[in-house]
């Protein structure tokens, strides 16, 4: 995901992570250890479960300029960054 963040300006998008679990200090430690600079949003209102209906993690949503969710990708895999880039360029 950090590699994807480097493409924000070039492809014109904004990247967020939503942390589905409430372990704040552990999350902060992991972010520091892995040098994550992406904003990590705390899911205090169970938004990912109740609004986005996330059942598997990670689940990645790609939203177009009109605020429409165009793609919902479950899991991570080799070439995932390229898959996301392809979707962003197409929508």
């Amino acid at each position: 995901m950090e590699k994807l963040k480097n493409m924000e300006d070039e492809l014109g998008f904004k990247l967020f992570l939503i942390n589905m679990k409430g372990y704040l200090n552990k999350t902060r430690a992991i972010l520091k250890e892995k040098n994550v600079t992406i904003p990590v949003l705390l899911d205090c209102k169970s938004y990912s479960r109740c609004v986005l209906h996330v059942n598997y993690t990670p689940t990645t949503f790609i939203i177009d300029k009109d605020g429409i969710i165009r793609s919902r990708l479950v899991g991570n895999c080799e070439g995932f960054k390229e898959i996301v880039e392809e979707v962003i360029e197409r929508i």
Binding site: M1, L4, G12, F13, K14, L15, F16, L17, I18, N19, M20, K21, G22, Y23, L24, N25, T27, R28, I30, L31, P39, V40, L41, L42, D43, C44, K45, S46, Y47, S48, V51, L52, H53, V54, N55, T57, P58, T59, T60, F61, I62, I63, D64, K65, G67, I68, I69, R70, S71, R72, L73, V74, G75, C77, E78, F80, I83, V87, I88, I91
Partner: protein, 304 residues
């Protein structure tokens, strides 16, 4: 009196007051999370429970109360001698808590604990929930998952059917339908499964099971379509379902079109993103509605 000379200062003060109010609110979620984490981390069990109960008193409406309930229950069940107190705490929460999602999560917590000590009691508890007024969609999905994993396919199927009953969106219904269809397929009820999976095709995972059944029935083009929908949403499974090979068998002259078909399916969703306000780990606030006009990538994940 407000005149032209001091109007600028008045506006500035109003903005500062507004920002001050927002600042207070903005910090609150993060502080609440920190308070919860501090209470959960206390070494002594009695003190930890006391602090978590204070947390619940301080924030009776906050969604994070779910974590506090679970932590108190876990703390009480750490010591087998306290299991009676854990059950009493469960009853106490269920007597007052009204949110169906939180009730459901807590019922599932009790189920998993019961399973660890007495599977018969756990199954009786799960069966009693089928007859209850519980409306937690995820409760029945989780119970179905768990029971299916433990080989109780029939009861798992009933849980998924109940999840369809209590689901209150097309997304939930197709997710539960997919799970129920998968469960029926495991029980050898292929025709019933097929009907249900076709109805639940909105859910990407339905495509995996649907593709398998249709391929076995010789409906190869339908199977390919189902697999494409599946791989569009779960890209890492492309090799697992051997989509490239199957596509080349069905469309030997057009194998090069597969990537484009997957991409078309991948961007074919059209659901409005409901804006919401979030605080990040550093206390900075973001409102998703502010990003209209810009493309977004949002990944929901659990690092811990």
């Amino acid at each position: 009196m407000i005149n032209k000379k001091n109007a600028g200062a008045v506006v500035l003060i109003m903005i500062l007051v507004f920002m001050g109010c927002m600042g207070g609110k903005e910090k609150s979620d993060l502080y609440i999370m920190e308070e919860l984490e501090a209470a959960s981390s206390i070494e002594g069990t009695a003190k930890r429970i006391e602090r978590l109960k204070i947390f619940l008193n301080n924030h009776p409406e906050h969604m994070c109360r779910e974590f506090a309930y679970n932590k108190i229950f876990d703390t009480l069940t750490e010591d087998s001698g306290q299991s009676g107190k854990a059950m009493a705490f469960f009853d106490e929460v269920m007597g007052t808590e009204e949110d169906p999602v939180i009730r459901g999560t807590f019922c599932y917590k009790k189920f998993t604990y019961l399973w660890s000590v007495d599977s018969t009691e756990a199954i009786d508890f799960a069966a009693s929930l089928l007859e209850s007024d519980e409306k937690g969609f995820r409760l029945f999905v989780y119970l179905g998952f768990d029971l299916g994993y433990r080989g109780r396919n029939e009861l798992a199927g009933e849980m998924f059917r109940k999840a369809i009953d209590v689901g209150n969106s097309s997304f939930e219904n197709s997710f539960a339908g997919m799970l129920y269809g998968e469960s029926l397929s495991k029980q050898g009820k292929e025709d019933l499964a097929l009907g249900l999976l076709k109805k639940s095709a909105d859910n990407v995972f339905a495509g995996k099971q649907l593709g398998k059944i249709l391929w076995e029935k010789g409906e190869r083009r339908g199977a390919i379509e189902a697999y494409i929908n599946f791989v569009a949403g779960v890209p890492g499974e492309r090799g697992e379902v051997k989509l490239d090979s199957l596509y080349a068998i069905v469309y030997p002259d057009n194998a090069g079109e597969l990537d484009e078909k997957i991409l078309e399916s991948r961007i074919g969703h059209k659901t409005l993103l409901h804006g919401s306000r979030f605080v990040d780990t550093e206390g900075k606030y973001y409102n998703l509605s502010d990003y209209k006009g810009k493309k977004l990538v949002i990944s929901a994940w659990s690092p811990t």
